[in-house]
Amino acid sequence: MTVTVLLFASYAEKLGKSSIPLELAHGATVGDVLTSLQRLPGASRLPTEPLVAVNERYARRDHVLASGDEVAIIPPVAGG
């Protein structure tokens, strides 16, 4: 199955892109996405346990993904 990984702000700069399609095995979790991301160039500059949102809601590392999910890696927020 395929999910779309979204990167923002400092994380998008570190990896040089803002969106990455990722092919995963059925039943894959947020944790599996983070493991896959660590293999990409520039990913060593991301924290190992970043905040993650699935389909625009904060999600835990053990959240099981479905095909087509939007997985956002959220840098420390700084609104206001």
Binding site: L6, F8, A9, S10, E13, P47, T48, E49, P50, L51, A53, E56, R57, Y58, R60, A72, I74, P75, P76, V77, A78, G79, G80
Partner: protein, 159 residues
């Protein structure tokens, strides 16, 4: 009137006050967040705000819904601006009205504190010396590597 918006135009705080005011309310509170000229001892020239827009809109609406039920008022209007802002420009405005001042203060404070913790908005600070930095969650410069993990643990502890 309860309304939230992520906007890309200047915020008119007086318009927000007008939206929440009414004869049933004895107290109207307005918070306006503006771009400050120094941060961490450095001279700031401006700020770029970006967001994960769909989530930011939803999260902001959730926070205002929570404030409405906790503090018993449906007269709340919040706008957060994105894009390039100069010194002194408003990045966020929160207007809350309530029959009594205590709850209006509490609701307004709740909204800005939760917004700063949860709404996925980021700011890139520009300095007079030509450099730029992503501002971290605590308002200082770029976060150390461990910071996101700490935030993550806090998030997990919440229902």
């Amino acid at each position: 009137m309860m309304r939230t918006a992520i906007v890309e135009r200047p915020i008119d705080p007086a318009a927000l006050v007008a939206e929440v005011s009414g004869v049933t309310n004895g107290a109207t509170l307005l918070f306006v967040g503006t771009v400050r000229e120094t941060n961490d001892g450095r001279d700031v020239s401006g700020m770029d705000y970006t967001a994960y827009r769909g989530m930011a809109e939803r999260e902001l609406a959730d926070i205002v819904g929570e404030a409405s039920s906790r503090f018993d008022t449906s007269d709340i209007v919040v706008e957060h601006r994105l894009g390039t802002l100069g010194l002194g420009e408003a990045s966020v405005a929160i207007a809350v009205a309530h029959p009594h001042r205590g709850r209006a203060y509490e609701a307004n404070r709740y909204i800005i504190e939760e917004l700063k913790k949860r709404v996925p908005i980021w700011k890139l600070e520009h300095y007079l010396d030509g450099t730029r930095e992503w501002v971290a969650a605590d308002g200082s410069k770029r976060a150390p590597q461990g910071e996101a993990a700490v935030l993550n643990d806090e998030r997990r502890a919440e229902p």
